[in-house]
Symmetry: C2
Subunit: 220 residues, 2 copies
């Protein structure tokens, strides 16, 4: 094949013992391939990563990878989906654990923590998504879109409720705010160094800037 803007692989082979389009995370080799591929996609990009490199890193030959995946496109597609799912699940779980009577502001703060935690500690699935999504062919972006959209909607609902409750200033456009928050959190994958600071420290600095701003207004 070669160039990635050519028409997409149409075939849909059925191989023994495989379930298609379901992430058999129990399968060890398959999981290993996803792990090393997401790291390579994150570090070098989808197009620059070869199946030989993926095979090498997974401890097998390039051809063997095709026992587990029908195509390179199917691999990135699954990685894109897993990335968003990790973050979304992390955010949902943390918010549900808070119960019903927390303040809207604290829900938003928890969502920030959850996003950051999912992003920076759940392997390379999330960052592979962030770094590659915008440059992938339309067909691949569209496959990932429903899962992305669900996550975006989760944030928009949360921010809207916080604004209605008076915890977010009313002259702020929610869509711009959501893009701003997720954007500034996502950018941390470009520079956060786990050796130099914990995720919790980073989260509290970002929450502070987000709600209080960096200005002093003559106070300090």
């Amino acid at each position: 094949m070669g160039a990635m803007d050519k028409k997409v692989n149409e075939k849909s082979k059925t191989r023994p013992g495989r379930v298609r389009r379901t992430s058999n995370l129990e399968n060890e080799s398959r999981r290993k391939i996803l792990d090393v591929a997401s790291k390579l996609f994150r570090d070098k990009g989808y197009a620059a990563t070869t199946l030989r490199q993926i095979g090498d890193a997974a401890g097998m030959q390039a051809g063997s990878v095709y026992y587990h995946f029908d195509s390179k496109e199917d691999m990135i597609s699954e990685i894109l989906d897993l990335g968003i799912t990790y973050v979304h699940d992390e955010v949902k779980r943390r918010i549900e654990e808070m119960g019903k009577d927390a303040s809207m502001r604290s829900y938003v703060e928890t969502a920030v923590e959850g996003h950051l935690y999912g992003l920076l500690s759940h392997g390379d699935f999330v960052s592979a998504n962030i770094r590659n999504y915008g440059q992938l062919p339309l067909e691949l972006r569209e496959r990932n879109r429903p899962i992305r959209q669900a996550y975006v909607t989760c944030w928009d609902k949360l921010l809207k409720r916080a604004q209605d409750a008076g915890d977010i200033r009313s002259d702020m456009d929610i869509k711009v705010l959501r893009l701003f928050i997720i954007g500034s959190l996502n950018w941390t994958v470009e520079w956060h160094d786990a050796e130099k600071g914990t995720i919790d420290d980073l989260a509290s600095q970002i929450k502070m800037v987000l709600f209080e701003g960096v200005g002093t207004n003559g106070k300090k």
Copy 2:
């Protein structure tokens, strides 16, 4: 060649009428190539963009591009440098125009405006840099590093002075703040739609969030 992590092109041909490693922006074809290539690199990524696509978009054959550039790597290298230079110049120019007696906060605000303006209206050089830099081979990142570093230093100096002057809260780490600001500004290339809002509007919303925060503290 093919894979981009192979060793870098060593040759240094000299062709008539060419100045090497200097951006002859007067040269029309050369400029056209840089324009279309930066757009392709931005949209599809460096590795996924072929010289045939660049040639097509520039109205010439792939082979002809090599009259103007020695390699694909030299092209992206020049584009990376031009991208940072655009933004840095825009920021410097705006700050210099303000004169000496403005407040430190207003200098920072002007820097935000300049960065955003350079980013969103100066062609695709800046966004090609933002989207590709982190995934390029080390050798290419190192070539671009001095120019990046100069820009980063410019921000760090500015933020430090603003903090010393009492315009930025003292418990804020300047390096984290700089990464946060540039990160959230850079992320706008992923979503800002010039049709739906002016850069000035976007800049004022971001300045507001940055200095005042989105919280209400019971006020509104």
